[in-house]
Amino acid sequence: MIDLSVEIAGIRMKNPVMSASGCFGYGREYVSFLDLEDLGALVVKGTTLEPRKGNTPPRICETAAGILNSVGLQNPGIDSVIRQEIPYLKNKNVPLIINIAANLEEEYIELARTLDPLEEVHGLEVNISCPNVKKGGMAFGTDVESACRLVKTLRSVTTKPLIVKLSPNVTDIVEIALAVEEAGADALSLINTLLGMAIDVNRRKPVLGNIMGGLSGPAVKPIALRMVWQVSEKVKVPVIGMGGIMTAEDALEFIMAGATAVAVGTANFVDPRAICEIIEGMENFLQDNNISNINQIKGAAREDCEL
């Protein structure tokens, strides 16, 4: 009855709820708790060309309604992911999106080239916004020109849908969004984490081994929602909203702000079944409100609003 399906850059999803990169491992970690096929799409941990060791622990610090993480893109590298993880996910009936990260433009390109021939990969999410590594992409995400150049080049080496993940640590996210769209992005993901920190007053030291980390969780939702609202007003490509989504209501806020789909990150840590609960809750909301198709409420909160 209720149609929750959406399409992002040619990727057909049975519902608009995806896993957020880095918060759902490579999927397998959650199979005890849910059926991967229930997800709208599965976005895996940020993957680099070479293996990455990651940052010095502690890497997690709980804050008021949020967490700081400084994982620092620890991952086994693309070759290992292709060998060890993708085959497992290949047989699951769920769109698979690989999140790629790098320090250098050449590495991004090499990653895209490597993944391009793989049929089982439905799209690439280009992380130009990781705040947790010295050269981890955020330099790309906070500078219009390098973001543009990167996306243009990537566009030329792969036919896979390119989803560009934006950083919220910027003065004007709309400017970057427009530039990246112009450069050839098929969709935009926002937001990545906000750069933050915490200090342990008893030890008189930063809590995180890496001093700063990325803030996620319900604390950041108002900021994320505002950015999705601002960006989706201006761009034509679909926007994937994320940042603090814990409940179906939260997800609906993003859809009503103009997002086509949403991703769920930190919530998985609180409830391993969060994604499924959110999907179910959205379906119930639509049912209760006699809405047959999720696309009907996309951007609904914008109507009669002027800024």
Binding site: G22, C23, F24, G25, E29, Y30, S32, F33, K45, K53, G54, P57, P58, R59, I60, C61, E62, A64, A65, G66, I67, N69, V71, Q74, G217, P218, M246, T266, N268, F269, V270, D271, P272, R273
Partner: protein, 267 residues
């Protein structure tokens, strides 16, 4: 297999100042758990304060009643809230999680070293070892008598733990690692298992190495997901051959909490 369930509190008792034992009805977990595994629980239902779950070792099980027990110390906000939960309340529980301790069939005599609430993952191990007919020596350390965990429960298993307290309020006055040195001097063991505060673990590992005793350690690190998905709970571990050793970060929640004593980098 792990489960995400709502588990009813069947008993919740204060064992000493700031120390609680919590019994939960969780038959799925009770029947699956192996020594050294843990549960990841929400101290409060709903709300975002605190946001994350808290990990606790499974201290004991009562399979016939479908129960598991944890023993915890109140150290911060989460455990303070947990301590207020009354019997019959239901807790959001994930488990059993993590890599359990390893058993070696050839072991006949093992020694366990627990620092304070570090006894928590070891008690189930003691029971399993005894069942296999292994001779088990337990050393318990704490700052003071009130912080000792498991003494009575061990006595029920007919074990007499050797106790060390820093203030001398019970047993040997001093560090449990001094006691360990003494015991290892007197007797030889096939294996050592340990859990406790980091400085203690470091010293235990050093002493064990001196005596060329191998073993396992249960580590703690702040956790987010508890299932290996977030890479938040990384601990530095040595890999590779001697000489060409490298440090990698392993996940305490999924590749541990049990690690081999020698591979861990303690500081």
């Amino acid at each position: 297999m792990s489960f995400s369930i709502k588990a009813e509190i069947t008993a919740h008792v204060k064992k000493a100042a700031g120390l609680y034992r919590l019994d939960l009805y969780a038959p799925e977990i009770s029947s699956e758990v192996q020594p050294g595994q843990f549960v990841h629980l929400r101290v409060r239902d709903g709300g975002y304060d605190p946001l994350l779950r808290r990990p606790f070792s499974i201290y004991d099980t009562n399979k016939s009643r479908g129960e598991i027990s944890i023993i915890y110390r109140v150290v911060g906000r989460g455990t303070s809230i947990l301590a207020l939960r009354p019997p019959h309340d239901k807790l959001d529980l994930m488990g059993p999680l993590g890599r359990p301790f390893t058993f070696w069939e050839e072991d006949e005599k093992v020694i366990l070293v627990a620092g304070g609430v570090g006894m928590a993952p070891l008690y189930l191990l003691v029971k399993a070892l005894l069942k296999k007919g292994v001779h088990v020596k337990v050393l318990l350390g704490a700052r003071t008598e009130g912080e000792l965990v498991g003494t009575e429960d061990l006595q029920e298993l007919k074990l007499k733990p050797c106790v060390a307290t820093e203030d001398g309020s019970a047993g040997f006055k001093g560090l449990v690692t001094e006691l360990l040195k003494e015991k290892l001097g007197e007797n030889s063991f096939h294996r050592l298992y340990t859990c406790g505060p980091r400085p203690m673990l470091k010293e235990v590992a050093r002493v064990a190495a001196d005596f060329q005793l191998k073993g396992e350690v249960s580590l703690e690190e702040i956790m987010a997901c508890g299932v290996g998905a977030c890479l938040g709970c990384a601990f530095p571990i040595k890999t590779g051959e001697k000489g060409a050793q490298e440090t990698v970060y392993k996940k305490v929640c999924a590749q541990g909490p049990a690690f081999s004593l020698e591979e861990v980098i303690y500081d």
